[in-house]
């Protein structure tokens, strides 16, 4: 029998049992919609993480002390005192692929203004830090190289600090706040950045010259790290090479020695994040995929019922000349129609669900390939779970089938 006729027969048989057909389709609809929405949410959050990271600057490089291992023992990098002023100067003097450099020393504690206080982190940096982080000043200005040289007690603060310490309409510029009993004069307020994807408030910061933190706050001579930016994202690798070379020389490491510092690029970080998001997406999609499996079993069940119900019809068709092949095709096409049209409606539902997610503020975007995958999966389900009932129908004995009551 021709495919066209088989389709006609299948559609007729399905429309004879509309509600039943709809119910078995429903499983597929829900399954496909769930998979599509999960993939869309996965993709959407990945994109938003990427956007956030690139907002921080994709050409950002950060140097931290300590190698992966030292003599078999892993040390806490913050206790290693390997990054010093000399390293910073060496970088400044030899950089080619690096635009900005800023040493970093940090300390956490309470900041006080009048009767108010809040917990925050103070970052000792050079003025170039804001360029590296692509951070703008909202009001006032940044501290200067001169301030760095003198170890001046000046700072720029994030929006959260302003909100926590000052009444509304108060201009924080030139106000003096205290951090660990040392007074800092506010010279600038940073542009608001909001929370990052790890849930950290990026505006809860005080940035001050690194010399001030080292001399007046912590009394230490080493840095916790050095931040730098490559000329461009593409040149990140070159910049890493360059940094490595400079630091190895300045640390007088022999060729056989391992690096006593690590350099990470933002790009690398982005890849790590992406792969984490991918893992989460896969878990979500697999969970949703199970509902598709259940839906497939539902189709198989209903097809088995249908075969039993239509035993006489099968017997008749065989006695007028249908081959087993014709009969199994007839039932296979029925199950493929159920699963494919269920899949189509599911994709549509998933698309609506994605719109809803976006409306509710979850970033979600449907990757094109997920639609293709849904189609393929639905066809596989239709054929796979339809095969057994179809075989059962094709293997019926026409003599018994035609007299089946």
């Amino acid at each position: 029998m021709s495919i066209l006729n088989l389709f006609k027969i299948a559609i007729k048989a399905l429309s004879n049992n509309k509600f039943r057909t709809f119910l078995s389709m429903l499983g597929i609809i829900i399954g496909v919609a769930a998979v599509i929405v999960m993939m869309a949410i996965g993709q959407g959050s990945k994109e938003s993480v990427r956007k956030d990271i690139s907002k921080m600057g994709t050409n950002l490089l950060s140097v931290r002390p300590g190698a992966e291992k030292m003599g078999g023992v892993r040390l806490d990098p913050s206790e290693m005192q390997t990054l010093k002023i000399a390293d910073y100067e060496a970088i400044l003097n030899n950089k080619k692929y690096i635009t900005y450099v800023s040493p970093e020393v940090t300390s956490s504690g309470q900041v006080i203004y009048g009767a108010k206080n809040t917990s925050t982190t103070i970052y000792g940096e050079s003025p170039e830090y804001l360029d590296i982080k692509k951070w703008e000043i909202a009001s006032g200005s940044c501290f200067t190289d001169e301030d760095v040289r003198k170890g001046a007690k000046v700072c720029v603060v994030g929006k959260t600090i302003v909100d926590e310490l000052f009444e509304e309409d108060t201009d924080p510029i030139d106000k003096v706040i205290r951090f660990k009993s040392i007074p800092f004069r506010i010279v600038g307020v940073l542009e608001e950045k909001g929370y990052n994807n790890w849930g950290m408030d990026q505006d809860n910061v005080i940035i001050t010259p690194y010399t001030t933190v080292m001399k007046r706050l912590l009394a230490q001579t080493f840095f916790q790290g050095i931040n730098a930016s490559a000329i461009s994202e593409e040149l990140s690798d070159k910049a890493i090479e360059e940094l490595t070379e400079i630091l190895r020389e300045s640390h007088s490491l022999k060729d056989s020695d391992e690096d006593d510092f690590t350099i990470r690029s933002q790009q690398e970080m982005m890849e790590t994040m992406s792969s984490t998001m991918d893992t989460i997406t896969i878990i979500l999609v697999v969970a949703a995929g199970f509902s598709l499996l259940v839906a497939g079993i539902g189709i198989m069940n209903i097809m088995l019922v249908s075969v039993t119900e239509r035993t006489r019809e099968i017997g008749l068709r065989m006695s007028v000349g249908a081959r087993g092949f014709d009969i199994s095709n007839q039932f296979l096409i029925e199950s493929v129609i159920i699963s494919l049209s269920g899949g189509l409606i599911g994709i549509l539902t998933g698309w609506l669900g994605t719109l809803l997610c976006n409306h509710l503020g979850f970033p979600a975007s449907i990757p094109m390939w997920s639609i293709v995958v849904s189609f393929v999966v639905c066809t596989v389900i239709g054929v796979g779970f339809g095969y057994f009932p179809a075989r059962k129908a094709a293997n019926l004995d026409p003599i018994e089938a035609i007299r089946y009551e």
């Binding site: 029998m1 021709s2 006729n5 007729k12 004879n16 006489r312 019809e313 017997g315 008749l316 068709r317 065989m318 006695s319 007028v320 000349g321 249908a322 081959r323 087993g324 092949f325 014709d326 026409p398 003599i399 035609i402």
Partner: protein, 263 residues
């Protein structure tokens, strides 16, 4: 009418055994006969006589355990399932006791069914052929009716039309009047006699001995063997019998009548 030059069906010592548990049961114990083109044969026997098994053999639904069955020049015994399906499609027209029409499907579509499995027919040819045979069986006015809109007699006419549509070498009727009242049964017989007069080969399997009077030949089966095979020289006209039937017969009368006949 009978064309003695052309053998449509030839059975040579056909045996069919079934294994039931550990026992071998012979349903056919060596059946041989020839049926020529244009014969109207009734095959009779009580239940258990092997007539259903014989019908399955004749209809190529089953193959003999031993012996030879030649249908229109082709040996059936060694054929595969698919070959037999094709043979049924081209050479045989089935009429069943319970009509076996597809529900929710019009007469024309029901009659088209065998041609659906024959690639040589286009959709248009199928429809034309179906309408032609439906007119032949007197259902020209019921082309688009569905089974639930028709009487038993009309449904059986659709079934007969379906058996005719592929222009088969032989029409196999299995108790084709078994579900019908006397009057309608004779109407069916009139139709079968008309087909016989047009040269169709008909095999009518029944347990009703009365029907033998209206066929051209009668084969009697008992315990898997042929016990009688007679040519009927005095074929009664079903039309005359039908005309002489009392019109006011009620359904109850018919039931008692058929019960007493069964006894």
């Amino acid at each position: 009418m009978v064309n003695k030059d052309k053998v449509i069906i030839e059975l040579r010592d056909v045996k069919r055994k079934f294994i039931v548990g550990d026992e071998k049961v012979y349903a056919l114990r060596g059946v041989s006969f020839k049926i020529y083109e244009g014969e109207f044969v009734t095959i009779m026997g009580t239940s258990g006589s092997g007539k259903s098994t014989l019908l399955n053999q004749l209809g190529c639904l089953d193959t003999p355990s031993s012996g030879e069955y030649i249908l229109d020049g082709m040996s059936v015994r060694k054929m595969s399932k698919n070959q037999r399906a094709r043979l049924r499609n081209r050479k045989i027209g089935f009429v069943f006791q319970n009509y076996n029409l597809l529900p929710k499907t019009t007469s024309v579509e029901n009659v088209e069914l065998p041609l659906m499995y024959n690639k040589e027919y286009s959709a248009k040819q199928r429809k034309e052929a179906a309408i032609k045979v439906l007119k032949e069986v007197g259902l020209g006015h019921r082309l688009d009716h569905k089974p639930n809109q028709m009487s038993g007699g009309q449904m059986q006419r659709v079934a007969i039309a379906r058996a005719l549509v592929n222009n088969p070498a032989v029409i196999l009727a299995d108790e084709a009047t078994g579900n019908l009242d006397t009057r309608t049964s004779f109407e069916m017989l009139v139709l079968f006699q008309k087909l016989y007069s047009e040269g169709h080969t008909i095999i009518f399997v029944t347990h009703n001995p009365e029907l033998a009077k209206y066929s051209s030949r009668n084969i009697l089966l008992r315990d898997g063997r042929i016990v009688d095979d007679t040519i009927n020289t005095n074929i009664l006209s079903a039309k005359e019998t039908l005309d002489n039937l009392p019109v006011e017969e009620t359904v109850d009368d018919l039931i008692t009548e058929s019960e007493s006949r069964d006894d």
